[in-house]
Symmetry: C2
Subunit: 156 residues, 2 copies
């Protein structure tokens, strides 16, 4: 990044940003090798971005999206209170290593702090560069076994 690079701004995405957000989600999925895992489409994102519990922040440079962070507010039973479950943090190729990820996390953290919300998320075990960023923010890291189960209906 040179000193003349235009500044990066961050704003909350709304339903009108659905196509941009969906494109970014498909990019991160392709980046992680699982684009088929994205089942949400444009109408779904238009609806989701209008829901109060959905928080997507877009990083833009010269009006073009260069990254995003997404999160869903949800109930945490042990706390008896909501937490913010972070889903994706992604910066587009060509814009990495310029502090945009940190900027997105700082903005998300400020919004969470304003409401007293804890933020929780999972990351790939081998993404050590991201782990460093998260620990520098002050997040605690643990290793967990994560299970995904699509139960079959009982046979009749």
């Amino acid at each position: 990044m040179t000193a003349t690079a235009p500044p990066v701004t961050v704003r909350r995405a709304g339903p009108e940003d659905a196509a941009t957000v969906l494109a970014l989600v498909r990019e991160i999925a392709a980046h992680e090798g699982d684009v088929a895992d994205v089942a949400s489409d444009l109408p779904t994102w238009t609806a989701m971005l209008g829901r109060p519990e959905v928080l997507v922040l877009l990083a833009e440079r010269d009006g073009a999206a260069v990254g995003f962070v997404s999160a869903v507010r949800r109930l945490h039973l042990w706390l008896g209170a909501d937490v913010l479950g972070l889903d994706d943090l992604f910066v587009r190729d060509g814009h990495r290593d310029a502090g945009i990820g940190r900027l997105l996390m700082a903005e998300l953290g400020a919004l969470a702090a304003a409401e007293g919300l804890v933020v929780r998320w999972e990351a790939r075990e081998d993404n050590t560069a991201a782990h460093r960023l998260y620990r520098r923010l002050g997040a605690t890291q643990r290793t967990k076994a994560v299970f995904v189960w699509r139960p079959l209906p009982p046979r009749s």
Copy 2:
């Protein structure tokens, strides 16, 4: 378990079961060494057990609670649909190794399957007995880094 042990039944907990559920949650927290992590109290549980997205199943023998499973239905952005986020599966000391955990998971799975919901959860990395149960159900297992962050308000 002998052939004369009374049968175990499973039912969905409601607000009137808040004290029972809170006692079980505190037991699992103590079992995992972190009873201070339970910030929810009786009024909180009474309210949470009345919310449609909260699903707690109680296993009972002779009318006494012997275990439970808890889950919260929540939006998953990549799927563009809800998933069931499992929080706790717990069987009381003295009732373990009798198939009660499997019975609770089977009931939870049947409810999830009826609505086409994927179930997701995290487990301690060293709880290999639980991992075996989950894999036998058909769940896929991955190892993830899990982050928890309580962001501080920006200094003014």
